[in-house]
Amino acid sequence: MNKQRFSFIGLICTLLTVIMALAWVFPIYWIASTAFKSETDTIVVPPKLLPWPPDLEAFVYVIHNSPIFRWYLNTVLVAATVTFFSILLSLMCAYALSRLEFRGKGLIYASLLIGFMLPFGALAIPLFMFMNSLNLVNSYLGLILPQIAAPLSVIVFKQFFDEVPRDFRDAALIDGATDIKILFGIYLPMNWSITWAMSIITFIGTWNNFLWPLIVTNSTSMLTIPVGMTQVQSAWGIAFAKTSAIAVLASIPTAAAYLIFQKRVTQGVMAAAGLK
């Protein structure tokens, strides 16, 4: 009796949860379905829930009327380069902070904790001036360079390296291995999952970064997709199918990265928040 009542309440709970989840993804569904409608179908009353038959007119328009492929290229290039160097430099620095003894180590670690608190937005003005004085406004280097240093990644990697028993390094040193070999041959493979996780969230974060590309680029050909799409959208005016279509195109890579590497994304997000 008691058990039956419990499962009945449980069923209601599950049902409410599913309704809530559906409501939560509705905005995503709605923008995706709008992208497959014709412009006239987007503003009919009552709204059409299903984009049937699907209409690719909006996507064709986006491809012909915006440098979307150039923006894809820009964003992929920037996000991939930033991710590669950011992770590589963070791994190396974290290894030294975790395993090597040298003067200035405590100072570096303390400065990382402060650096990680500095809000990027507050540094935007001097960074822009700096890039301007180097003639790097509207360039890939201007987009990439300021996004590479990630104190948080160093802190996370250091925590993981700290948990590797010291014997691994000592034994490898006796066998004549150098620290570079130890890092890339032992420590990195032992911590593949967190390295992977941090790489994916760095990639997603760089792909989605809005403020810095907004500030450091203004020529159409150098924009990244999240910034570029807003510029053509305002030029197109009231054209819901088209603005939705470009939004769908802009979010495919990060959404796909999340759906494929769900577990790693979760792990990376938690590690970055200070929880393992």
Partner: protein, 294 residues
């Protein structure tokens, strides 16, 4: 120090020093150039009347004196605080609720988790595109459902709550993840023991779940607080600070002073004010994390 010991330890130490710097130097180069140097630079700029190209001269604390009497700046501080009030606690509570809903699921768990978390990984401009469309005054679904014609982002009363709702929808998945981790760390035998003692579901929730999840709750609250102080992107895309400056938040005010009014020095003073507040709140976060570890 005895001579022999010194000689013995010396060579090892020196090679260690060189290798160590080989490992840290590349990171430190970028870190120094693009984080530390700009941090000092913004502090210096705040004491000058520079334009956005960096041309100007030293004027000591004049920017700060002006800032203290600038009604637009204080309005932006109030708008930021208002945004924080609208987001921090609600976002934490919704995150907790979603975590509670997700952890009891079995087969549907992954799908539901995905639904709640997916918005978090979308670019901000996609999020705002979706909501500008959903909340459109004439053709939006929300106004259709309620038979209303509210222009959410053009109405001074609705604009900030609108930005807050979008922000919660976008970021709540992050809070939910932290709460799920926290809930899973609560030992299951506590619940079993309480059930044996005759505690019902509600009693177990109040006397086991709530106190044991508190460390995560406080962490989420502080992380949210730091994050929401930095509100910029959503405002830039949804309202551009309007209508009638009703969503002019601190970082947007800085952006406007710097890149539209060409007042780099004054904007730097705004930035410093923001940095000071964020560092104070972050210090609180470290204390929380440290007490957690203990």
């Amino acid at each position: 120090m005895p001579q022999t010991e010194r000689n013995a330890s010396r060579p090892k130490r020196r090679t260690g020093w060189r290798i160590a710097w080989f490992f840290v130097a590349p990171f430190l180069l970028f870190y120094g150039l693009f984080l530390i140097y700009p941090a000092f630079q913004v502090a210096y700029l705040s004491l000058t009347n520079s334009d956005i190209a960096g041309q100007g001269h030293f004027i000591a604390f004049a920017n700060y004196l002006e800032l203290a009497r600038d009604p637009d700046f204080w309005a932006s501080v109030w708008h930021t605080v208002y945004f924080i009030i609208l987001t921090v606690v609600p976002n934490t509570l919704v995150g907790f609720l979603f975590a509670l809903l997700v952890v009891r699921l079995r087969r549907l768990r992954l799908a539901v988790l995905c639904a709640f978390f997916l918005p978090y990984i979308l670019p901000v401009s996609v999020v705002t595109t979706a909501f500008l469309w959903l909340l459109d005054a004439n053709f939006g679904v929300v106004n259709y459902l309620f038979s209303s014609q509210i222009a959410f982002f053009a109405d001074p009363v609705w604009a900030m709550p609108g930005v807050a709702i979008v922000t919660i929808w976008w970021t709540v998945g992050f809070n939910m993840l932290l709460f799920i981790a926290g809930l899973q760390n609560i030992p299951i035998d506590l619940y079993e023991a309480a059930a044996l003692d005759g505690a019902n579901t509600f009693q177990r929730f109040v006397s086991i779940t709530c106190p044991l999840i508190w460390p995560v709750t406080s962490l989420v609250l502080v992380l949210q607080l730091i994050l929401q102080f930095k509100i910029f992107d959503q405002v830039y895309l949804l309202t551009f600070g309007g209508p009638y400056n009703s969503t002019m938040v601190v970082l947007f005010y800085m952006y406007r002073e710097a890149f539209q009014q060409n007042r780099g020095g004054y904007a730097a003073a705004v930035a410093i004010a923001l940095v000071v507040v964020i560092i104070l709140v972050s210090a609180l976060q470290f204390r929380l994390l440290n007490t957690r570890r203990k």
